[in-house]
């Protein structure tokens, strides 16, 4: 983990939100999809806590974060930052997704805003020749990931709650048709979805083998180094610090 100042290179609309591209070669070179970056917001001591982001794009020199519109003061401050600004970043935090080398068909499942954090993994998997299917859900078409952001080889399924794009309904409705195809599953969503995913895997495969599905556990980190104990949750059979053990876990451990 390092602390570095990242240069804000560009602000772009990303769906209904804003994405910031940050140049920080030393940090970007270490980042694995699914890991977190903690960014300081505000000028003084308020807000005091860093904001946690899972990058939505990573290359060798830079990474991008997504700012959805919400009521948070720290993210509101970041939305006002202009190109040329420097942002204090701590990262990478924790363990990211591990591309299952022996799996040929990878199913990536993204629930709501968290779906965007799968993009760096989708890019890498496709570039390495895996067959990748991405399935996401969103409230409406405006929040979905534009197909143009995906590698051409990726099969893309969408569900929207209002039916404005793809299948009407939630991501879980897509599982029965997609799961039997997959050798491995990578997910970024909430706990409700993970429980549904666990049940669907069981239904499709008799037993969900360990190592079959990885899932991102999203939460805000304080220190990111294991010192403060703020991130301890009941997971993997004990109360563990997500910044050390995660934030990417085996789905079996998240559900246990």
């Amino acid at each position: 983990m390092i602390q570095t100042r990242a240069l804000l290179e560009a602000r772009e609309e990303a769906g209904s939100a804003l994405s910031l591209r940050l140049r920080a070669p030393d940090l970007a070179a270490q980042l694995v999809p699914g890991q977190a970056v903690l960014i300081q917001t505000g000028w003084g001591y308020d807000p005091f806590l860093r904001r946690t982001f899972h990058p939505i794009a990573i290359d060798s020199e830079s990474f991008a974060i997504r700012l959805a519109v919400d009521g948070d003061r720290g993210r509101a401050w970041l939305r006002l930052a202009q190109p040329g600004a420097e942002l204090d970043c701590l990262g990478p935090v924790g363990k990211g997704f591990i591309l299952p080398s022996r799996a040929r068909r990878i199913l990536c499942l993204g629930g709501g805003d968290a779906a965007w954090t799968l993009l760096p993994l989708v890019q890498r998997a496709a570039a390495l020749g895996h067959a990748v299917t991405l399935a996401t859900d969103a409230l409406s078409k405006r929040q979905t990931i534009p197909a143009a952001m995906l590698p051409i080889s990726v099969e893309y399924h969408i569900a929207t709650i209002d039916g404005s794009a793809g299948r009407k309904g939630a991501l879980s409705a897509l599982l029965p048709e997609l799961l039997p195809w997959a050798d491995a599953v990578i997910a970024a969503a909430d706990m409700d979805f993970y429980r549904q995913l666990g049940r669907a895997i069981e239904a499709a495969r008799v037993l969900p083998p360990k190592g079959y599905a990885q899932a991102l556990y999203q939460m805000n980190f304080l220190c990111g180094t294991g010192a403060c104990q703020a991130c301890a949750v009941d997971i993997a059979g004990g109360r563990r610090r997500v910044c050390l053990r995660g934030p990417v876990f085996d789905l079996v451990d998240i559900l246990r």
Partner: protein, 276 residues
């Protein structure tokens, strides 16, 4: 060099007035990037109890203006496992380490202190957080019970809002130094639940300064350590001016390790300049 336990024959000599306190680096191994044990004169561990504690379920953290509330419920693996996994690390560190012993059952802390006999050569002292609600008799008894079983320097961590009330009793009972201290508890809602915990972050500094001013006028025969809200060299110097012999940081190390490292260098330079 500063002696934080001048009346204890073991003494507690630190080479910098900056202390990594209240588990800023966990048990002395969870260092944020760019920050090292050598940046500090003393490391005080995260809380250690006699038996393992699972701590509090989520939510544990709430952000408040200029600070946060963090309620871990003293989550820790218990004395035995802490010693088994960390004594080797402490032995290698050039910076002295004090263990923060938290109570549960009456007598727990004395039991733990007595069990440190085998590692007394590795440990520089024990910190005893004094609970917010104790009266003078209870505070004195708590310190005295530990004093009876260990020669190690005792650092009594006093609640900031009751430091003046408790200070003299703790010194008489055997505390070698006083840490001021433990910030006042507060509550804040998070996601439909509540976090109830001591304040953390820069918002605490005025409470620390008030306690230091009160203790300065009491002519106590024990060094005072300032703890709570220190973020900058100016904050640290203010505490030293008010009579503190050392200054503890925690949230600064978590939020901005680079700034904590700068503070460590600057405070050393300042002390060197003072000495010359």
């Amino acid at each position: 060099m500063i002696n934080l336990a001048p009346h204890n024959k073991l003494g507690l000599i630190i080479d910098s007035p900056l202390i990594a306190g209240s588990g800023a680096a966990g048990y002395g191994a969870a260092w944020p990037p760019g920050l090292h044990a050598e940046d500090f004169g003393l490391i005080i561990t995260a809380p250690i109890s006699a038996t393992p504690r699972k701590g509090k379920a989520q939510p544990r953290l709430a952000e408040i203006p200029a600070g946060f509330l963090l309620e871990t419920g003293d989550h820790n693996p218990g004395l035995r496992r802490v010693l088994a996994s960390h004594v080797k690390t402490w032995r290698k560190l050039k910076t002295p380490v004090a263990l923060s012993l938290v109570g549960g059952e009456p007598g727990d802390r004395a039991w733990m202190a007595a069990h440190l006999e085998d590692v007394e050569d590795v440990i520089a002292g024990v910190e005893l957080p004094i609970p917010e609600t104790v009266n003078l008799g209870e505070a004195g008894a708590l310190i005295a019970a530990v004093r009876r079983v260990t020669p190690l320097p005792i650092l009594a961590r006093l609640p900031l809002t009751r430091a003046a009330y408790l200070a003299k009793t703790c010194v008489v009972a055997g505390a070698d130094a006083l840490i001021v201290g433990a910030p006042p508890p507060a509550a804040y809602p998070v996601d439909g639940d509540w976090v109830e915990a001591p304040l953390g972050g820069p918002i605490v500094l005025p409470f620390t300064l008030r306690a230091l001013r009160q203790l300065r006028d009491m002519s106590l025969d024990a060094p005072v350590i300032a703890a709570g809200g220190v973020q900058t060299l100016d904050d640290a110097l203010l505490c030293l001016e008010l009579g503190a012999m050392a200054v503890q940081i925690r949230s600064l190390a978590w939020r901005d390790p680079a700034a904590a490292h700068r503070l460590a260098l600057n405070i050393r330079s300042f002390m060197d300049a003072e000495d010359n």
